[in-house]
Symmetry: none
Subunit: 281 residues, 2 copies
């Protein structure tokens, strides 16, 4: 049974949707070998786009290429960034892998729920990423405050430590598992496409999209600068903590691009509006 | 609400059921290091019983102990068998992990279905096992012919090879995932299990609470009044719509009582701070 014409534009749209797989971002990985085995774990489950923030031992890395085995293309195509914020700026949804919940008000997801969430967003054309921290210390609270969710694997508390490649492997496995489930469901419905499924549950209007991390950064910089001027961020030592709390709060809102514009409009108006009223006195 | 008497025999029965975790059987593993990392992957997901058929480099293995890190007890308690048949003789259900389906009439399961199946059997008091083959050649057809099912992980055909520890990791992960799902269901029924689970999904810190609707109202009134003064809500007819949008945005944030205080502090500061800078001119 063929329900639709398998036209060229349709095929291209599908190919594009298929390309929207989660990006893997390694933050300050220490050993080239771990980068290589992580790349191989990505390739095991069809993930291809690797970004690395400040690899400790420099780049390119012979060790990484060697350890990646037949996933060497993933390593060779990896893009290096000097800041975490640059590495995430074009992404719409990112989750931070951590061993324990942090003292932050932030959604905590299982690998399964995170993979489901990323699939739903992918179907709407949004770009997602999974963030992995340093081998020794993981992600710091500032890194995490930029993320939409925390993901924690259901490990035994008595033996909770996973190495980098294993953590990547589990997330890749869950992502591909959800991908397979979806494709099976589509096949059952007689549809040939990989991603244009029925409407999923969600909170978004049709035409809206999650703000990119770059748009979010612009908002945070704007707000921080105004809060500094206004004296809200009085104690310099407490500023990073306060801004983390504010970022966590606003990210939980899952703002659309329009929401970011509205929020920035509100900030500008609150600041300038009172100027105006001052001036008119 | 207590649904049943928490009697001593019942507790013991539960403990015993919890102890019926799948046995991991490695058939003729070649490198001690791989045995050690496989043991660690077992321990990550609460699996403790390791059996080894003819380890190539003999036993005990210093390499295995070293690579197991804090899962050394799993290695030390491993039992060595000289034949595969001896290693599986007390088990009720075993599945063979392979990279490809073999030319055999044998059920092929996903890791998820295999884990579900093993849980069902465990609840009836049956003992299950998962079999892993040699690093180079996997399980031979005779080994597999003893098994009830074949399990294949949904890897990308272009990069299908998982190392021994990774294969164990995925099976351990799926087993524990099913275990958690089951125990959550038990907990929902008011039953207490021995399972000391990982972090639950959720968004809240222990001590925080959602803001009351009264606190939210106070915030919205405060914001609306300042936005009116500043001129942001210029067109009176559009005000209700604009405030609805802003409310929706802020409610999606699921603010705590503390978040509401922070937001009101920000509003006050943005408004007053610029007064202050005006005054200081």
């Amino acid at each position: 049974m063929k329900l639709e014409v398998d036209s060229q534009p349709l095929r291209e749209a599908r190919r594009e949707a298929n390309n929207l797989r989660p990006v893997i971002i390694l933050v300050e990985p220490q050993l080239g070998e771990n980068i290589g085995t992580a790349a191989r774990a990505m390739a095991n489950f069809g993930l291809r786009e690797l970004r690395i923030v400040n690899p400790r031992d420099g780049w390119p890395s012979e060790m990484a290429e060697k350890a990646s085995a037949n996933a060497i293309e993933v390593v060779k195509n990896a893009v290096i960034y000097s800041t975490f914020e640059d590495a995430i700026s074009d992404l719409n949804f990112i989750c931070a892998t951590t061993a324990r919940p942090r003292e932050m008000v932030k959604p905590v997801l299982s690998p399964e729920s995170a993979a489901q969430k990323m699939h739903q967003l992918t179907q709407k054309g949004e770009k997602t990423g999974i963030i992995f921290g340093r081998e020794k210390s993981g992600l710091n609270n500032t890194d995490i405050s930029h993320c939409d969710s925390i993901v924690i694997a259901p490990v035994d508390p008595d033996c909770a430590s996973l190495n980098l490649a294993q953590a990547v492997l589990l997330m890749g496995y869950e992502w591909r598992r959800q991908f397979s489930i979806e494709n099976e469901e589509q096949a059952t419905l007689g549809r040939k496409t990989d991603f244009d499924g029925p409407a999923k549950e969600g909170i978004r209007l049709k035409d809206s999209r999650n703000a990119t991390k770059g748009e979010m950064s612009g908002l945070f910089t704007h707000l921080e600068s105004e809060l500094e001027k206004s004296g809200f961020l009085r104690t310099v030592e407490k500023t990073p903590q306060m801004m983390r709390n504010i970022r966590n709060m606003i990210i939980r809102m899952q703002p659309t691009d329009q929401d970011v514009r509205t929020l920035r409009g509100i900030i500008t108006s609150l600041v300038n509006g009172s100027h105006r009223s001052e001036n008119s006195k």
